[in-house]
């Protein structure tokens, strides 16, 4: 498949950051059927992989990459051995590295912050802030 240069370069970046061979995916949908978060997603995980295969950068505007909870259910179910969570992380990182914050610490209620376990706050900010 021949991609336009901008698409090829986006695809290469995602592959490099995630360490995954995106072309292995044959769209069986196993990741999407097992994902516990699909109800909150705009693109199914399998579609995110398809976007990445085609090098379509608009996938970075998808809600899905932020809704993924990195539970690795897709990883254990993928018959092609793709760690989809790694691809989700690569996409998040591409967005976060342009100084994007999905969650703002200032918007959080100090009372709640005191009650939340530290692991919740730290992991959330690691995943969702630049």
């Amino acid at each position: 498949m021949r991609l336009k240069p901008e698409n090829a370069s986006f695809k290469a970046k995602v592959a490099e950051l995630s360490g995954e061979s995106l072309d292995l995916c044959f769209q069986c949908g196993g990741c999407s059927s097992g994902c516990p978060m699909t109800e909150e997603m705009d693109l199914l995980p399998s579609k995110v992989i398809r976007f990445a295969q085609l090098g379509l950068g608009e996938v970075l505007d998808s809600k899905t990459i932020w809704v993924c909870s990195t539970c690795f259910t897709c990883e254990v179910r993928c018959p092609r051995g793709i760690d989809i969570a790694n691809v989700m992380e690569a996409l998040r990182e591409l967005k976060l590295r342009s100084k994007y914050d999905r969650v703002s610490l200032d918007s959080l209620d100090p009372e709640e912050l005191r009650e939340l376990p530290q692991i919740a706050i730290i992991s959330n900010l690691r995943k969702l802030t630049a």
Partner: protein
Amino acid sequence: MRLPYYPGCTLKTTAENFEISAIASAREVGIELMELPRWNCCGTVHALARDDVMHYLAPIRNLIRVEEMVGEGLVDEGRVVTLCAMCYNTLKRADAVVREDEEKMQKVRDFMERETPYGGGVEVTHLLEILKDLGWSKVADRVVRPLEGLRVAPYYGCLLLRPRGFGIDDVDNPQILERLIEALGADVVNIPFKTRCCGAYHIVQMKEVVAELSHRVLDQAVDAGADMVALACPLCEYNMGSRQEEVKRLFQGFEPVPVVYFTQLMALAFGLEGATGFEQNRPDPRPLLKERGIPLEVS
């Protein structure tokens, strides 16, 4: 047997009941959990981006502490014991990355030039694995108050099992918590969602979604007739236990069900009255235990 023990931050705050019950119960089966000196945060999540070496520093620094303990003879083995599923995962995965990738190992060493270089001699384990190695009969031998008639649904969540190769048991049908519950004399209640995600860190900004996910698991447990849910992750406990009021608010008719750490059940069955930590759990499991004929001296 003295083993190095990495608590992690949350075991000192919202999951104190996990730590207290684990240390006391482990001692009963002959394991002395020796807390790492000067430990630091593990980072909570493993850095998945291939170029993100910086986030390996925190977990690896903890493993250096373990090697120092071994070197000083403070512990008998280089197997570090974790309790929190997130700590287990980050320490184990960071260790695997630097062991497999010489270049990354060198980078980590260069970053921490004032530290003793990490030698790669640590094995990251979870307390459940240590108990399994010890043998369930050894655990059963210590039981002075069998949890007869108590119906417990084991819940694993994500990071005790996944990703493949980094879990404590089979990814599809784990049995390690089941064996422990049986060894303590309680009945295992199987729920299909025992490996399903509770919503994890989304509790910070998507509270209702997490309540919904937690509800699915809890509701299955209630439907299956479980008296309580037993788990091993302070984030799962928070979402499914401490935040159950939110679940109740969103789902009319939902019956609250106590959520406890597996170590609290051990402490209870071992007769370690002062080390169950049940007073910290929400909902409080004590009234139910009393109802089931497992009386607790409430101080």
